[in-house]
């Protein structure tokens, strides 16, 4: 059973809240609250193009599942997954809290090793994940109650999952000029935090791009056509060393500043043409 099928089955089950407008919910606080109360289940976000599901069990947030409208899906664990989840939460959409025990361990297959596609070729199918793909925590026999006795829903068997479907899809176009932004971020980090941290950033960026058939060439980002969510995964992985030192707020500000500058430059260039 794919993650999508598991999610669909889960969505048919009980929900603590369903389809709240995302801009009226502080998802970070909601997750903290659920974790603090020993909730077991999933926080589901959906917008036009993407869906994500953060699993919570045993008083801690666990894996995050991501789904794209094109059909690709991925499971991320750790900070990267949670950061991406919260970033998606900031985009609005709807928020639901689904009651369920996390599914039994899913033996996700290793990310398919794809030959790097030629530059400008569209990557099809699932976005390879630059972090070990971990399975959700095993279900406990006694679920932790949330205010009232919790109903334990039968979660469809998610046993050894099939390989993520690799089917042709048209990825949604990136809404940001990510290649230019990331080049600009490298310069800004060097200016602000020195060349050492900038070097860690470019090393992480190179590794993240390599996982999607791209690379860093003399400080220039060379990448095939990637979807917005794949770019976001690349950005998160590349920025992880900066986030660890300078913090999330710094990273967000730097990306925003780089975005502004790149757009101004692009507007200037197209204006002259």
């Amino acid at each position: 059973m794919t993650l999508r099928e598991s999610l669909d089955a889960l969505r048919e089950g009980p929900a603590l809240v369903a389809d709240l407008p995302g801009d009226e919910v502080d998802v970070e606080r909601l997750v903290s609250h659920l974790v603090a109360h020993g909730f077991s289940g999933g926080v589901h976000l959906a917008d036009r193009d993407t869906e994500s599901l953060l699993w919570i069990s045993d008083g801690a947030p666990r894996d995050v599942w991501f789904f794209e409208s094109g059909g690709s899906e991925a499971a991320l664990s750790g900070v990267l997954g949670h950061d991406l989840f919260h970033q998606m939460a900031a985009r609005g959409g709807t928020v639901s809290v689904l009651i369920s025990e996390p599914p039994r361990p899913v033996a996700m297959p290793p990310t398919p090793v794809l030959d790097p596609p030629p530059i400008s070729e569209t990557i099809q199918g699932p976005a390879p994940v630059p972090q070990s793909v971990a399975a959700p925590e095993p279900a406990k026999t006694a679920p932790t109650p949330v205010r009232e006795p919790q109903r334990v829903e039968e979660v469809p068997d998610t046993g050894p999952a099939a390989s993520p479907r690799v089917e042709p899809s048209i990825p949604e176009p990136p809404s940001h000029p990510w290649a230019a932004i990331l080049e600009d971020v490298a310069e800004r980090v060097a200016r602000h935090r020195g060349p050492k941290l900038a070097a860690r950033f470019t090393a992480a960026l190179d590794a993240a791009l390599a996982a999607h058939g791209g690379r860093l060439e003399g400080g220039r980002v060379v990448a095939p056509e990637l979807s917005e969510s794949t770019w976001r995964i690349v950005v998160e992985a590349a920025c992880a060393p900066i986030t660890a030192v300078a913090g999330r707020a710094f990273v967000d500000r730097t990306i925003a500043a780089a975005d502004r500058e790149v757009r101004v430059l692009q507007a200037g260039t197209s204006g002259r043409r």
Binding site: H192, V245, A249
Partner: protein, 258 residues
């Protein structure tokens, strides 16, 4: 820019007050009293300004950012020092007694060093991988050498005397902690060298230098019963906290102007 102007005015006022309090000797009874009051006030205000600086720095981070914790610990350290100075002043102004050593104020002063050490330790954990091993060892050697000089010149005579253990322990702890704060402050400066953030940590390292010299001086003067509220050594405490405040405000500024 308005924030910078405010900072410059505050630092300028502290500076002028310190010059008046410690820059002259003698004078009329009234002048001496004024200097005494000014010295007490400025020694409470300077760490409070450092608290403001560190809190300003924390506000440039998101909850959960590790450097936010660094500056939070810095703010708590400076606040502990301010509390210690208030207790210290209380003995003199309301207790009407000479300040005993050790006193309740020392509890706050010890907390200050522990918290500042914690703040710098947390920052070092983040930055150490970016600093080459020889440089790290060099900094440690620098701290050790400074401590050895301080120990021989200041601490050893106290250790060899017959004063109570607590007094010996504090006389050793203050300069030791302060001296090792210097390389601890320099390490992030070296990790971020080439970037604007490095200067923030140069300011913090300068704060550590001032506090270290002041600590050694304080231990020596207390030992020989020469310490007074208007002794010029106090200017170093104030300079230390002013540098810490500058570091905090500067960090806020550079963190937001990427």
């Amino acid at each position: 820019m308005r924030r910078m102007r405010g900072l410059i005015i505050i630092v300028g006022l502290v500076f002028v007050a310190a010059i008046y309090a410690y820059g002259s000797e003698g004078g009329s009874h009234q002048a001496r009293l004024t200097r005494h009051v000014l010295s007490t006030a400025v020694q409470i205000v300077a760490p409070l300004v450092a608290v403001l600086g560190c809190v300003a720095a924390t506000r440039a981070y998101a909850p959960g950012d590790r450097e936010r914790l660094v500056w939070t610990a810095g703010a708590a350290a400076a606040l502990a020092w301010a509390a210690g100075r208030i207790v210290f002043a209380g003995y003199q102004w309301w207790g009407g007694t000479a300040v005993p050593f050790p006193s309740a104020a020392d509890g706050f002063f010890v907390a200050f060093y522990v918290l500042l050490g914690l703040a710098l330790g947390l920052e070092i954990r983040l930055v150490a991988p970016m600093v080459e091993r020889p440089i790290r060892l060099g900094l440690f050697a620098l701290g050790l050498a400074a401590w050895a000089v301080g120990f021989v010149r200041v601490v050893e005579p106290i250790m060899l005397s017959s004063v109570p253990f607590v007094e010996k322990a504090l006389a050793t702890f203050y300069p030791t902690a302060a001296v090792f704060l210097i390389p601890a402050g320099l390490l992030p400066a070296l990790g971020f060298r080439g970037g604007t953030s490095a200067y923030v940590w140069v300011a913090v390292a300068l704060a550590a230098v001032c506090l270290a010299i002041a600590s050694l001086g304080y231990a020596l003067l207390t030992w020989y019963h020469l310490y007074s509220e208007v002794h010029s050594i106090n200017a170093l405490w104030i300079a230390g906290f002013v540098f810490l405040a500058i570091g905090g405000f500067w960090q806020r500024m550079v963190q937001e102007e990427v």
